[in-house]
Amino acid sequence: MTLSLEATFREEWPRAVGILTRVLGDLSLAEDAVQDAFATALERWPRDGVPRSPGAWIVATARNGAIDRLRREKTFARKAELLARLEGVPADEDADVSSIPDERLALLFTCCHPALAVDARIALTLREVAGLQTPEIARAFLVTEPALAQRLVRAKRRLRETGIPFRVPPDHLLPDRVPDVLRVLYLVFNEGYAATAGESLLRRDLCAEAIRLAKLVCVLMPDEPEAFGLLALLLLQDARREARVGDDGELVLLGDQDRRLWDGASIDEGLRVLRRAESLRRPGPYQLQAAIAAGHAEGAAPHVIAATYAALEQIDPSPIVRLNRAVAVALAGDVEEGLALIEGIEGLDGYSYLPAARADLLRRLDRNAEAAASYREALALTDNAPERRFLERRLRGVGG
């Protein structure tokens, strides 16, 4: 498939699946119809040229295919009702697809419904909203294709059998549901961001997909500051991608990164998006995390970053945030205070970064024996090769 055709497919897939799901009331039926239309497109477009309005062509072809398919069904109980509803979908291949209501936001909320398991939400969102193919998603998540296909089938069955609604949630549910959606996008991004240099480009592509989805959410929910906060955070983190891993595959800590490797355009875009979020005057965890990332990008004073972490801890007192704040406090000069904050953290057992951070602060206080013990504790908790090499080097540095 040529790049432009692939891009068109990814763009038009969620639009068409959304419209057909609204009409048919069932994601699986809609997907089958759209899949058939794409197969026809793959056959005809290279020969006859891409139609003037690819989106309308796909919707019209999927509609006609679904009508044919339903007519052949003998026993389907809702046949007459669904046929009547399909008749209402525009059949004009040259129509402006924007004249049909955009259902992509409903599709996104449905794919991210809290009644689905988190990995099912991620797979479904990448398949239906990002328009990725099943093999692509399987490779990116390092699972077999049948396993991922099975995950998608189960998720779609659960949508149908438990009555998960296809809609943008009503206002009273939005404060709960918007974070669910943003969380799925952030998990997709992190899955790609954690990929190290040697790993397939597909995994890294997940970052680009997460950013593309976050931009879509911003377009669809232009008054949701946290959507812009998340997009800003993703852009600012993504800007540092090349500087995170050294030539030897070692992790490079923020303070030691070569700033020339940071992507200036991505940082500028992140800062712009963050200003847009802040102009809506409803702070939230993603905006604050983006503000911290922006602080790093702009070389803000360490105490400013520590203060932003304190604000983040106010609304999100999770152990991870408290750990990050403790490190920021230490970096701002108060190492003893940072250490005391780390000692107060509960609920991070088995998380290697906690003893690693504690070890680092002890090292700065020249408490080398205690530092060595903490480095060893961290080493016992991680299998990640670059992280291990980093910890071993530090351990030797304190004479352990």
């Binding site: 009644a115 059998e161 438990t162 009555g163 609604p165």
Partner: protein, 119 residues
């Protein structure tokens, strides 16, 4: 969609308390029950519910090698036992969860929302 809303609670909480105390407890949760029935009635006028006698009074029946074996309940050794159920027809899972959250037992026990298979 049809849903069964199963009510779970720790029935041993009611063991050994006096009639007066039991009546007091019921009276306390009464406003919540009224809200529940109002909301459920609006969402599904045909909704129905039943309270079950304590699980300790249950008989567990199994057929082992063709022989019927009867033991005293409850079936499972968990603290929370099913104490009642509602059968409702509601537009979607979000609404079923909302109605379930209005059942007083959601606060001191838990609710299970189970879609009913329709063939």
């Amino acid at each position: 969609m049809k849903y069964a809303l199963l009510v779970y609670s720790d029935q041993s909480d009611w063991d050994g308390i006096s009639e007066e105390q039991a009546a007091e407890r019921r009276a306390e949760s009464m406003p919540r029950w009224i809200t529940l029935f109002e909301e459920m009635g609006k969402a599904d006028p045909d909704a129905g519910g039943r309270e079950l006698v304590a699980a300790a009074e249950a008989k567990v029946v199994r057929v082992v090698d063709g022989e019927t074996v009867i033991t005293d309940g409850p079936f499972a050794e968990t603290k929370e036992q099913i104490g009642g159920l509602f059968l409702t027809t509601l537009p979607d899972l979000d609404e079923a969860i909302r109605i379930a959250s209005l059942v007083p037992a959601a606060e001191y026990g838990s609710m299970e929302v189970r879609p009913i298979v329709e063939r």
